[in-house]
Amino acid sequence: MKSNLVFIGSIIGWLLLTGILSRPLELKVWDKVKAAQPQLQLKNIEEGLGQGITIGLLGGFRSLIADGLWLKTNNAWERRDLPATQTLISMVTAVDPRPLYFWINGARIVAYDMPMWRIEAVGRYEDVPISIRERIMGEHGILALEYLKEGLLHHPQDPILYAEMAMIYHRKLNNMKTALEYYRLAAIQPEVPFYIGRLYAELLRKAGQTEKAYQWLILLHPTLPKGNIWAMPDVVLGKIRELEEELGIETEDLYRFE
């Protein structure tokens, strides 16, 4: 009995000593691995357990498993099975949160398709009172936003996620003020697609903030590369001129560029 305790104690002691001595080396690598993989950043124990096992044991197999689950999600979506679709959408991104495709399309299903299923389950779209329609759309809009916020933890600087959130605020929650804030956040992220800057200006204009839209476009225009068909600097310039006319800007104050 005593020799067993000595044996176990010496094994534990030796492993502890190894752990203590190797900790500085471990932390050097661990800090970098953790920074590169947001899913390993601990938010709560339950999620940490799931992510730790899927990443550690499955590694790259996560892609295939997530793809399989996505196929299953589409199957549930075709059947309009709301609980199954919602569970599978969360499961896909829990297994592999890296692809943006899952976050965007998952959020779109939650925000745009699911409310329609619920409304049509009550009766014909036109027959359902507007207040009920709006309540259902609002509920799903909020669910989709929560889902996208989780996506932002994994893709903190992704303009597409911000733009998607802006669209939900705009179209589903009729909250133009917050929608504009999210478009602004999308527009200032690195590697933002060119159309988001133009879209932000257009929505500012629609919201009656013409001066702000103008200021935004004259900041944006010099950053657009010439000869890039997606950047469309000429279209932006045309819009600037339109706004100058609308705002009644004096000839000497017109936007000039090299």
Binding site: L15, G19, L21, V29, W30, V33, G56, G60
Partner: protein, 270 residues
């Protein structure tokens, strides 16, 4: 010399085992199969998917092989009583354990080399097919760094070495190979969750729990630090400092756990 002979014999025995052939063929089949599985790929680019899938196959089957082959080879000597013949000669128990460990490291090295070659070939074939359809400008940039694929595999090999050493440690005091395999698989899972213990103090305010979590975080190695597959798949350069630091960390555990296995085996009655 005796250690080398035991290692050589272990290698010979291992490559004769059906499980080794099965795992190697299955892994190669899966890596090659990623060319077809890509049809099911939604979320990420095709080449990234292949690298992801290939690195997954190396990690998963390598870990499996490290546990099963180590346990089988170790217990084969005990169950067939060859260990008694061996140790009755002027062979130290330390030489026996180290010889086994080195032999298994060779086996895992062969597995790692075969998998890496298969993965690089599959990526190369697919990249060439894609490059032939796109412009020279994109072609010249390239996507996957083959050198990083090799470095990733070497780091995985170091991890397999720790798994093998841990399996030898469990085998050195347990009575059956089934128990050793089961416990080793659990240990592999727990080692992947060590980071939770290390960081757990930040999500709990109970000091007793904090202390226990810290204790466990020092007790077991952190396997998540070998998780460099995402870097390779992203096409970003794998920081060399990380590779050697992860490698050094692994080798510290090779030495430490092997010493423990020798100590434990020296106490065992055969």
């Amino acid at each position: 010399m005796r250690l080398f002979l035991i290692a050589q014999n272990t290698l010979k025995e291992a490559v004769r085992q059906k499980i080794f052939h099965f795992v190697v063929l299955l892994s190669i089949g899966l890596i090659v199969g990623s060319l077809f599985f890509r049809e099911f790929n939604f979320g990420i680019s095709e080449i990234k998917f292949i690298v992801d899938f290939g690195s997954g196959a190396i990690t998963f089957f390598g870990s499996m092989l490290a546990v099963v082959v180590t346990a089988q080879l170790f217990f084969a000597e005990i169950e067939n009583r060859t260990v008694q013949t061996l140790l009755s000669k002027p062979v130290y128990r330390a030489e026996f354990i180290l010889g086994k460990f080195c032999g298994i490291l060779f086996v895992l090295f062969i597995f790692m080399v075969l998998m890496t070659i298969s993965l690089i070939l599959v990526i190369g074939i697919r990249e060439a097919a894609i490059y032939s359809q796109i412009s020279e400008e994109i072609y010249s940039k390239g996507w996957i760094r083959y050198g990083d694929v090799v470095l990733f595999s070497v780091v995985q090999w170091v991890k397999f070495g720790i798994i093998s050493a841990l399996t030898l440690l469990i085998g050195s005091f347990s009575r059956s190979s089934l128990y050793t395999i089961t416990m080793s698989f659990f240990l592999v899972i727990i080692c992947h969750l060590q980071y939770l213990a290390q960081e757990g103090w930040s999500v709990t305010s109970i000091w007793l729990l904090q202390g226990m979590l810290q204790f466990f975080s020092y007790l077991i190695p952190n396997f998540q630090i070998f998780n460099l597959g995402d870097w390779v798949a992203s096409g970003e350069a794998l920081p060399y400092s990380m590779v050697w630091q992860a490698g050094a960390y692994g080798i510290v555990y090779w030495i430490s756990v092997s010493c423990l296995a020798i100590y434990s085996f020296s106490k065992r009655e055969i």
